[in-house]
């Protein structure tokens, strides 16, 4: 039996098409993927992302220890800020964490630093992928120091709701109550949220219970992600949808939205053996002068990286899919120069788009590319990423 989020029953009662996703029963869509996608691009979409793993890391050594475990620097992460990172592991077996070949990327994650406790103890939250959660938790647990750090997987006691779109905070700075959060938070909190920078985080309360609100997302739009107790999730969701007129969106549109924003998805752009530099994730690896599992190997990969990530747009509405080969034609001879990592029809571009990893030489010159899609060669144009970039008011 797949696990159920606190909103599963609401989804089932509201035309959610439920599928088993990474061990969770989740809605792919309610109405249609395209209408949910465009609704988020134009207004506000809400997504139940409670399947994402949430791990609390606390203690007076928490910052230093996380810094030694993550590809991104943590010791300089300010309080109330989130940062995108990779979680790496090394070869061998460690407390039932089997890692063959060294090193591997176990996941990508957001690490958020919360305010220290009064005794100076540091507090962090890691948000990891549902599909990798158990393995990541086992891996991290096995590497905890004897004292000074505790780690708690709080996924099943909490919920997570993403509120995304250009109208999350209304049309203007004076208009923050016009957005769907206006029916959730009071004026003071709402103004604090509206002025949060990207990747800024606010710890606040909802009906007396603690909630964590981050100016983050996975759609390419402005918005927030809210982590809260399980018992409060349904109330918040109904408030956003019924009073705030936000559009409930499933995992289908979440995927097309993130693809247009060229955001990586573990299992596609990023796998165990991926070299982060080829995947366009060099920014997520602070490697100089730092140590983390596999750092030495990743340093070697950086200097030998001869592939890179590109964006492709097709004439056709037809989409290339993960694993399809990218072909380049030179002097009348075709050769395979890379492969698609994610592809879909883009509701915004109204044609097929795809992310691919290709030989670096291909991306540096003008050339004719084609992708072999189910036996048919589709011409593709190399474009700069992301496919979609939101207008910024600030």
């Amino acid at each position: 039996m797949p696990q159920r989020t606190p909103l599963a029953e609401w989804h089932e009662n509201n035309r959610g098409r439920m599928v088993d996703f990474a061990g969770w029963s989740m809605p792919v869509q309610y109405s249609s993927i395209v209408s949910e996608h465009l609704g988020t691009r134009k207004g506000v979409g809400v997504f139940d992302v409670s399947h994402m793993g949430r791990v609390a890391v606390e203690g007076n050594q928490a910052a230093e220890w996380l810094d030694s475990m993550l590809t991104r620097q943590v010791v300089d992460l300010p309080v109330c800020r989130a940062r995108y990172t990779l979680i790496t592991g090394v070869a061998g077996e460690e407390d039932n964490v089997q890692l063959d070949g060294a090193p591997v990327i176990l996941d990508d994650a957001l690490v958020t630093r919360l305010a220290d406790q009064k005794d100076g103890s540091q507090r962090f939250v890691l948000v990891v992928n549902a599909s990798n959660r158990q393995r990541v938790v086992r891996w991290l647990q096995a590497r905890l120091p004897p004292e000074g750090v505790t780690l708690n997987d709080t996924t099943e006691d909490s919920a997570m709701i993403a509120v995304q779109g250009p109208l999350v905070f209304g049309h203007t700075a004076e208009d923050v109550f016009a957005g769907p959060l206006g029916s959730v938070f009071g004026k003071k909190v709402l103004q604090q949220l509206a002025t949060l920078p990207n990747y800024g985080v606010l710890e606040t309360e909802l009906s007396g219970e603690p909630v964590l609100v981050s100016r983050t997302g996975y759609t390419g739009e402005d918005g927030v992600e809210i982590i809260l107790g399980s018992s409060q999730a349904l109330g918040l969701w109904k408030c956003l949808v019924e009073e705030g007129s936000a559009i409930p969106c499933g995992l289908g549109s979440r995927d097309t939205l993130r693809l247009e924003a060229a955001m990586p998805l573990y299992g596609h752009e990023l796998c165990e053996k991926t070299d982060p530099f080829s995947a366009g994730l060099g920014f997520a690896v602070n490697i100089d002068g730092r140590e983390f599992p596999g750092a030495e190997e990743i340093r070697t990969r950086r200097s030998s990286s001869d592939r890179c990530r590109i964006g492709l747009v097709f004439e056709s509405r037809r989409a290339a899919r993960s694993g399809d080969h990218v072909l380049v034609s030179k002097n009348g001879t075709d050769s395979i120069c890379g492969e698609i990592t994610s592809g879909s029809f883009s509701p915004t571009c109204e044609r097929g788009i795809a992310l691919a990893v290709v030989d670096r030489a291909i991306a540096e010159q003008e050339c004719e590319l084609e992708v072999l899609v189910r036996g048919v060669r589709l011409p593709a144009k190399l474009v700069s990423l992301p496919f979609y970039r939101r207008h910024r008011h600030d």
Partner: protein, 126 residues
Amino acid sequence: MEKSRRYAKSHEWARLEDDGSVTVGISAYAVEALTDLVFMQLPDVGATVTAGESFGEIESVKAVSDLYAPISGTVVAANTDLPSQLETLGSDPYGSGWVVRVQPDSVEQLEALMDQEAYDKLIGGE
């Protein structure tokens, strides 16, 4: 042979026309289940199709699906308006949303397909 629609397990429908050809389309149930259709590949007129084998593709945002021929024969017409107006499949699946017209190798093949009652039972159970 009665001129009502008959259905394949793969959710294509087939209807015998007065001229002896068979019109083929996709059931309303299947179109509803697919949603977000973005692309359709039709066979050329003159192509031969084989019962149970793919004669075209229909692609939604999420996935690509094959269209399976409910009967064997030769394609005598294809609804070339359809790929640019895929919404017709949903709004009029048994009329202007038809996909191809096939000259069947034999009309008896239709008897192997489900009638409305059997098909309703199939989709009721899914």
